[in-house]
């Protein structure tokens, strides 16, 4: 009744390749987070402070990023741009898609963070003679940073897991690589089981590192 024989040897043999692909996964996720944080911060501030075309552009970005499947966003940068003759490498497709998605989600995290710091903090800082820049960098942003820290960590985890969609646009990150070996050897279950463990370990490391960092960073 259960006549499947497990064969782990091929998986073990390609483990170094899988781990290398895992590094690629981590790389593309981290890069997309860095880009996402910069753009997300800009989108949040635009949505909080500006009106007019820039506001609508930022709002459109956030709406699209949050309310459509991440896979479609990847496809847009792959096949969508491809239709207009713009051909990105698989790495760039995933990086652009993830960055677009992360920026949208992070923008909303940041917007909530800024709104959670009372206006009166800015007034108090300005009343001491601080410039607007000083008040933001010394008083407001450090407080926002603490509020958004854990949501941003979540987004990083999400970016790692979401990068597995790269497999569908021909990017050989961890899932793409696994798919490649699995279809060559037909040891599909074994490969994806091991890959699941690798994902789990990557995410666990991120979470533990984030918690340790938080203990150093936040004194109050």
């Amino acid at each position: 009744m259960f006549d499947y024989n497990f064969h782990w040897r091929p998986v073990l043999k390609s483990l170094p390749d899988l781990l290398e692909a895992g590094l690629l996964t981590l790389q593309v996720a981290a890069l997309s987070m860095i880009i996402g944080i910069v753009i997300g911060l800009a989108l949040a501030l635009i949505r909080l402070k500006l009106k007019g075309p820039l506001y609508w552009l930022a709002t459109g970005w956030v709406e699209l990023a949050r309310n459509t499947p991440a896979l479609f966003q990847l496809f847009f940068f792959g096949f969508g741009l491809g239709a207009f003759g713009v051909h990105l490498s698989p790495f760039l497709i995933v990086l652009a898609g993830l960055s677009f998605n992360c920026a949208g989600y992070l923008a909303e995290n940041f917007r909530g963070g800024f709104q959670a710091v009372p206006d009166t903090q800015l007034r108090a800082a300005r009343s001491l003679g601080m410039t607007s820049w000083q008040a933001y960098t010394r008083i407001i942003i450090p407080q926002v940073f603490k509020i958004v820290y854990h949501p941003v960590t979540n987004q990083m985890v999400w970016a790692v897991l979401m990068s597995s969609l790269g497999m569908l646009v021909g990017f050989r990150e961890l899932s793409g690589e696994t798919q490649f070996f699995a279809s060559r050897t037909f040891r599909i279950f074994e490969y994806f089981a091991v890959t699941a463990i690798i994902y789990y370990v990557i995410v666990k490391i991120i979470l533990v590192a984030s918690r340790l960092l938080a203990m150093r960073l936040f004194r109050y």
């Binding site: 009372p118 009166t120 903090q121 108090a124 009343s127 001491l128 450090p142 004194r219 109050y220």
Partner: protein, 240 residues
């Protein structure tokens, strides 16, 4: 000297200050009393330029606060402000709360700023709380911290915006004592307040605001004893 003339302030269509003329001399303690919404807090915000004005002028030591070319950040160093919601910076220790502005606004060295902060925290009786974060301080202690933070900029004037209104009753005394101490040291103060005892005992003059108009101003004995304005008498009859 602070010279306010013909000051008018609107929030949208609502006029909250309807032509205020008022001078405050160095060394004077002025209390501003009146009902909520009478414009007294807004007056303070107009004095240090946190709120723009629509008409008239505010001149501090010869500098027009709302003029285009005015370096408002420099001018604000002269005008310490204490808020109703004390607004301590939660991510900084008491010492850092006080030392930050002298360092980044006035360019003092780290050591100098620390020395100033220690001195001012001692001044307000918080010398044993230097390395404590605000969330571990009571409301009264946080308000004294806010006073120390303002004093660290060595201001010429101190503006108090209902400094005790948000405090639990048993914590009001320690903040009023600190304000009394400053008055005795000769600090020029404008205190928007609901504390009639403080206004009577400590001020040189008391101004009564009513619906955006400075209805009456004079020594405490006049305002609390024989107020000329009907509105002043009514207000005081109600608060007592």
């Amino acid at each position: 000297m602070i010279e306010i003339s013909g000051l008018e302030k609107y929030f949208g269509a609502l006029q909250v200050l309807k032509g205020i003329d008022l001078n405050v001399q160095k060394g004077e303690v002025l209390s501003v009393i009146g009902a909520s919404g009478s414009g007294k807090s807004t007056l303070l915000y107009c004095i240090n330029g946190l709120e723009p004005i629509q008409k008239g002028s505010v001149v501090v030591d010869g500098t027009d606060v709302h003029a285009k070319g005015t370096d408002i950040n420099k001018l604000r160093q002269k005008l310490g402000m204490v808020f109703q919601q004390w607004n301590s910076f939660p991510h900084l220790t008491a010492l850092e709360n006080v030392a930050l502005a002298p360092r980044i606004v006035k360019g003092k060295s780290k050591a100098e700023a620390k020395e100033i902060a220690e001195k001012q925290l001692k001044h307000v009786g918080l010398e044993d709380k230097l390395n404590v974060f605000p969330n571990a301080l009571s409301g009264g202690q946080q308000q004294r911290l806010a006073i120390a933070r303002a004093l660290a900029m060595e201001p010429t004037y101190m503006l108090f915006d209902e400094a005790t209104s948000a405090l639990d009753p048993e914590l009001v005394g320690e903040v009023l004592d600190t304000m009394r101490l400053l008055a005795e040291e000769g600090m020029t103060m404008i205190c928007v307040t609901h504390e009639m005892g403080f206004a009577r005992d400590v001020s040189d003059r008391v101004a009564f605001f009513h619906k955006g108009v400075m209805e009456e101003i004079g020594p405490p004995a006049q305002i609390f004893g024989q107020a000329e304005s009907e509105n002043t008498r009514k207000f005081l009859a109600n608060v007592r």
